[in-house]
């Protein structure tokens, strides 16, 4: 299980990379392995939209499951990775290089509330069974 040390993690299996006031969001290796081969991806928000932590960012589907990607932070959507909606194999093969959206943080404290790599690793182990 790949869990890069420089990222933050949400309980709902999103990773967050913070650069100044902008958070880049994707899903973790654990998440993509649970879903298995992804066959579809759809954004549920538009650029410029204000979003709240816990809201739905996108939907990702495989043959046996469909999952919502949840916003781990609140803020304003500044960019969507439109390429992902066509090239979703990347989500499975390179989950940490495939980002979904960038959010301008409205509350930087949201980031502190997320888990670091060690905490997330422990969390994944506990859920294993």
């Amino acid at each position: 299980m790949n869990i890069p040390g420089d990222l933050k993690y949400a309980k709902t299996d999103e990773w967050v990379k913070v650069d100044g006031n902008v958070a880049t969001i994707g899903i973790t290796d654990y998440a993509q392995s649970q879903l298995s081969d992804i066959v579809y991806f759809e954004f549920k928000v538009d650029p410029g939209e204000s979003v709240k932590k816990g809201g739905t960012a996108a939907t990702v589907e495989s043959v046996k499951a469909a999952s919502d990607i949840i916003f781990p932070v609140s803020g304003k959507v500044v960019e969507l990775n439109d390429a992902v909606a066509d090239e979703f194999e990347g989500i499975n093969s390179k989950p940490y290089e495939t980002w979904f959206l960038k959010v301008e943080l409205s509350n930087p404290a949201d980031v502190d509330a997320l888990m670091d790599a060690a905490e997330y690793e422990k969390y994944c182990e506990e859920r294993g069974h």
Partner: protein, 487 residues
């Protein structure tokens, strides 16, 4: 060898069924609105009959063998049902004919309403919903309408057990409810303590399947209903598992406020490869006015010499129409025929033997497979399709290997609360020999799981086609075959 599609066997100019030439003068077709190409097949009648006959031979069916799908109640579909549905006096009636010309139909529908009331212990029934999920939608709408009529618009939550069929939460969400999941306890019942916590005046109701999807009768059903009623909520009964309760217990007596019936499960109407079903809804006295409509009523009482006059009428505070016309009359006919052939004692015998068959299989299998809920089951039971000492073998492999033994696999991966679930429901129409053969096959497969797991991983071997690439199907999305000329 795959069967070609109907388009692939088409031949330009070939004609199938012919119709007479017009016996009236022709009128010009409307200018600018005429269709120029009609890309339908061009095949002979024999081509069609052969093609679909070949296709049928690729199918597994109840007529061909055991189909132990949990919660689907794959019992024998009596052939007499088909003959009766085809009686011209029934089949050739138009739904909008004046009531006086279809008293036979209306009488039959009225009687089935009465039979279902009697079987369930409820006060009124609508035969309009087209399938189980449709009945659920209707039932949830009735709950909402009732609460709204009583000024209880703050009731925004619907409680749904974690073992529930997916249609339950989907239906609640469709009606605008917030779905709150209720956990199960270690014996497979609803966790009473957890339920108590969740009961409040923001709860519209609880959707309860009893027996539940683990095949177990809710041991505290009275307390569960009391808790919900106590906080002002209503209880919806998912009737998918009614086969275990016929003549044994009536949901209305127990206190359910509303439920749906699956005529295509409990009452033998054929599954048809995915429908048509029929999902009538029954309600307790306080909900009678909210039923969808129109339903059959007695317009004029009969006498000793004369039958009553039946007609269709909308209930006083009806939620409205949920379907065109009156419901699936063809399935209503079949269910009526079925109940007529059993009577009251017969109803109980159905439940007794459905439950007997399930427990018999359970007794034969529980030493080989792990059964998480160790008590007398009802008409179905759930076991785990994994072995601690045969890693790599999953419920899916066992299911696929069963096909090599000429059995349709049981339901797998449902309910979600059992790991690698295999849900088995034999129904009452299977004889002991078939059950013995099925148990034997499963025991052999368990052995193979330990000694020759590859046989399972690569199964099935004797079916017309092997495991199919579902990822490719979803990614490449080919949903139509195109006529050779088009692209």
């Amino acid at each position: 060898m795959a069967e070609p599609t109907i388009y692939e066997i088409s031949s330009e100019g070939r004609i199938g069924v012919r119709f007479p030439e017009p016996d009236v003068p022709r009128t010009d077709l409307p200018a600018g609105l005429e269709r120029t190409t009609l890309p339908l097949p061009e095949v002979s009648e024999l081509d069609v009959v052969r093609h679909f006959t070949h296709l049928s031979q690729l199918n597994f069916s109840i007529d061909g063998g055991l189909y132990p799908l949990g919660s689907c109640t794959m019992k024998y579909n009596p052939k007499i049902n088909e003959d009766i549905a085809r009686l011209p006096g029934f089949a050739f009636t138009h739904p909008l004919q004046p009531a006086e010309t279809v008293q036979g139909n209306l009488a039959l529908m009225y009687e089935l309403q009465e039979y279902l009331k009697e079987i369930s212990g409820l006060a009124a029934v609508s035969l309009q919903p087209a399938a189980g999920a449709h009945g659920e939608f209707t039932g949830v709408m009735i709950i909402k309408a009732y609460h709204d009529a009583n000024g209880q618009t703050h009731r925004t939550k619907m409680l749904v057990p974690d073992s529930a069929h997916g249609t339950n939460p989907a239906t609640s969400a469709m009606r605008g409810y917030e779905v709150v999941s209720v956990p199960s306890d270690l014996r497979g019942n609803i966790d009473l303590a957890a339920l108590k916590e969740l009961c409040s005046d923001t709860v519209a109701g609880l959707m309860l399947t009893n027996p539940n999807t683990l095949g177990l009768f809710e041991e505290h059903v009275v307390e569960v209903l009391d808790l919900i009623h106590g906080c002002g909520g209503l209880v919806y009964g998912d009737g998918a598992n009614l086969n275990a309760l016929l003549g044994v217990a009536r949901p209305g007596d127990i206190g359910f406020d509303v439920m749906h019936f699956n005529l295509h499960k409990t009452f033998s109407t054929p599954h048809g490869g995915g429908g048509p079903g029929s999902g009538p809804v029954g309600v307790a006295e306080h909900l009678v006015d909210f039923l969808p409509g129109p339903n059959v009523v007695i317009a004029e009482e009969g006498s000793e010499d004369e039958a009553p006059l039946f007609d269709l009428a909308m209930p006083a505070q009806s939620i409205g129409r949920v379907k065109s016309f009156h419901g699936h009359f063809g399935m209503i006919l079949r269910a009526f025929t079925y109940i007529s052939m059993y009577g009251a004692e017969g109803m109980r015998q159905i439940a007794e033997h459905a439950v007997l068959n399930a427990n018999y299989l359970l007794a034969k299998l529980h030493k080989t497979y792990h059964v998480p809920y160790d008590r007398i089951c009802m008409h179905e039971f759930v076991m785990e399709g994994v072995f601690e000492d045969a890693p790599g073998v999953h419920a899916l492999d066992i299911a696929k290997r069963l096909m090599d033994y000429k059995f349709h696999p049981p339901t797998n991966y449902f309910p979600l609360i059992v790991h690698e679930a295999l849900m088995i429901e034999p129904t009452e129409t299977e004889n002991k020999q078939t059950l013995d053969q099925f148990a034997e096959a499963l025991i052999k497969i368990a052995e193979e799981a330990h000694t020759q797991p590859d046989l399972l991983h690569s199964a099935p071997h004797i079916t017309p086609i092997g495991r199919l690439d579902e990822v490719k199907a979803a990614k490449e999305l080919v949903l139509c075959c195109w006529y050779p000329e088009q692209d």
